[in-house]
């Protein structure tokens, strides 16, 4: 069972209280973009084995979207953070690198 701490209300919420929002930090390509860019934005996901950044919604709780970093192989949660950022916070990145020295970065 995945347990994530909502950064907005501080509840340590288990999976059934949350709704998944899939990969985080996607760059949106809208109507002015090329077909290839739009296709990549729409369908191409990294789906890594290991460190993954995701969107989650505390849907049965405070209702807010937040972001989480976890390992898809071990379900280890590295941290959760507010959704109003375009990249993961530096201290979280540092903590992940410490635990996963061979991690290639999120980009």
């Amino acid at each position: 069972m995945l347990t994530l701490t909502c950064p907005y209300c501080g509840i340590s919420a288990e999976e059934t209280e949350l709704s998944p929002g899939y990969e985080a930090h996607l760059k949106r390509f809208g109507p002015a973009s090329s077909d290839a860019e739009f296709e990549a934005y729409m369908f191409a996901r990294k789906n890594p084995k290991g460190v993954h950044f995701e969107r989650w919604r505390h849907s049965y709780g405070c209702g807010k979207w937040f972001l989480a970093a976890r390992c898809t192989a071990t379900l280890e949660v590295f941290g959760t953070y507010h959704a109003q950022v375009s990249q993961p916070p530096a201290d979280l990145i540092a903590a992940i690198i410490k635990k996963r020295p061979d991690w290639k970065g999120y980009a």
């Binding site: 907005y8 209300c9 509840i11 340590s12 919420a13 059934t16 049965y60 807010k64």
Partner: protein, 183 residues
């Protein structure tokens, strides 16, 4: 609009098991949405309910009125059903010209009181860690398949859910409170 003939969803349905389940209401409820940095927000809550502004997940009490923290920009004001129009006026006056939303949601909700061993009943139905739940805390969570919120006072608790699922929640609570199924 305030309806003097308002009736609660289940007309005061009650069940007695190892805990007593009772539908209460109609209860006045106002959803107040405003960013926490809106000036006079605390004054508006004070004017409408007499309560202090609650901290994260907190619920404040003043007489029979309450104010609960629902999310970083949402509060739930609870009061007698007949007091809602006056409270809405007080909020509109206190927050005039500032970005906010206050809405009477009394008729959108159903409220249940659980009397005795409430944590045992609720622990069967929601993924709540009752050891981490504070005495002045409103927990928004789910009861089986539907969203709900509750606060616990000693052995008793008050549960709020949507009116459309009132019968479902009453049946859930009653079933969980059947005599002989204590945990």
């Amino acid at each position: 609009m305030f309806n003097p003939a308002a009736v609660s969803a289940l007309n005061g349905a009650a069940f007695s098991g190892y805990a007593r389940i009772r539908e209460i209401g109609p209860l006045g409820m106002i959803t107040l949405r405003a960013a926490p940095n809106v000036a006079a927000l605390a004054d508006a809550i004070k004017a409408a309910t007499g309560c202090a502004i609650p901290q994260m997940r907190g619920i404040e009490t003043a007489g029979g009125n309450r104010c609960a923290w629902m999310s970083p920009d949402e509060y739930l004001l609870i009061m007698p059903h007949a007091d809602v129009p006056a409270a809405l006026d007080a909020i509109a006056k206190a927050l005039a010209g500032q970005h906010h939303l206050a809405l009477d949601v009394s008729d959108a909700r159903a409220v249940f009181a659980i009397e005795g061993m409430a944590a045992s009943v609720l622990a069967k139905l929601s993924p709540t860690d009752f050891t981490a739940l504070g005495p002045k805390e409103l927990r928004r969570t789910r009861l089986a398949q539907v969203p709900a919120a509750f606060w616990v006072e000693g052995a008793n608790a008050t549960v709020i859910c949507f009116r459309s699922v009132a019968q479902y929640v009453f049946d859930l609570l009653s079933h969980a409170a059947k005599a002989g199924t204590e945990i």
